[in-house]
Amino acid sequence: MTASGAEAALFWVLAPLMVLAALGLLFARKAVHAAVCVMFVMVGLAILYVAQEAPFLGVVQVVVYTGAVMMLFLFVLMLVGVDAADSLTETIKGQRWVGVLLGLGLVVVLLGVIAQATFPPAVGLAEANAVTNPVALARVLLGDYVLAMEVVGVLLVTAALAGLVLTHRRRLSVRPTQRVLAAARVAALPQGRTLTPLPAPGVYAQNNAMDTPALGPDGEPLPHSVPRVLRIRGQERSATAVLAEEETLVARDDLRLIGVGPTSGEAVPAPVGLVETTSGASPGSTTGGTGTTGEDEDGGVR
């Protein structure tokens, strides 16, 4: 029995895509990309199951594999660190070439066996699926394989317990209470801990983002006003760079306004005031903050 034309078309469209996605698992640098590739393969397999008169398995494939197993993989990837890349140093010499050779050999052997074997004429499942596919499956599953079914149930419970036990962390010390934490904070004051919350990132005339530090009352940038993660990654901008940028903007505005000035007589006083407010807003965080208090309206002083 040969497959219908529609099924052949489906197969020849899906199979190369699935093989490509599987190769993506082999070659993807990042584990997340590999996981997405495997998901594609699994959805493709579900479609092929439905095409092969196994609709129940197709649904189970989507629910169990793409829905549960691969989501579990993604969660573990998040826990372990998304950008945990492979190390490229070889611990076993020549492992890569031996691996590629074995993989190619496996393909050749398996395809050779399939090509050489004589298969009986395909029967098709029309007769077996006469009572609908899930019912036919249930009759075999709960008839011939009752014992295996129960053993599998025990296996699932054991696996769930194993997951709980393996990821359980035994607490080695007493759980700290609010009072203990507060005392520890106060005790750490001489080491430079602050009791108050950390300062918020800086707000400037042209810039309001997490990566720019705020300026202290003395005009110095506060490094710990930028989130720790950004600092570790080195994605922090320096306050001087931001301020210098704004200075150039103000200077350009000055030039433009001076150029406009002589053409219209009454426009002269207004731009002067404008220039003064803008120039006062951005460098004010450096100069104005020094003499006065820290509660300047200027967001830069925090």
Partner: protein, 99 residues
Amino acid sequence: MEITNYLGLAAILFAIGATTVLLRRNAIVVFMGVELMLNATNLAFVTFARIHGDVTGQVLAFFVMVVAAAEVVVGLAIIITIFRSRRSASVDDVNLLNS
């Protein structure tokens, strides 16, 4: 198209999964290779069920899925435990028993 083409696809997917297990160092990617191999055998089971006109093959594929789900739970829990103690998910770093 012959139905045995499905078996060829299953063989190729299985070999790619096996190569992944041999070549990759990240334990999670290796694990996904194992999953790919299990899926490839499932495709072969479903195809044989169709060739022989007997749903037993589909029942076996169903069992493979259940066992794979249980295996994923335990395997990923082990990977997380190792990651907690060694801060690494690379299979090369687990060499405590290596003198």
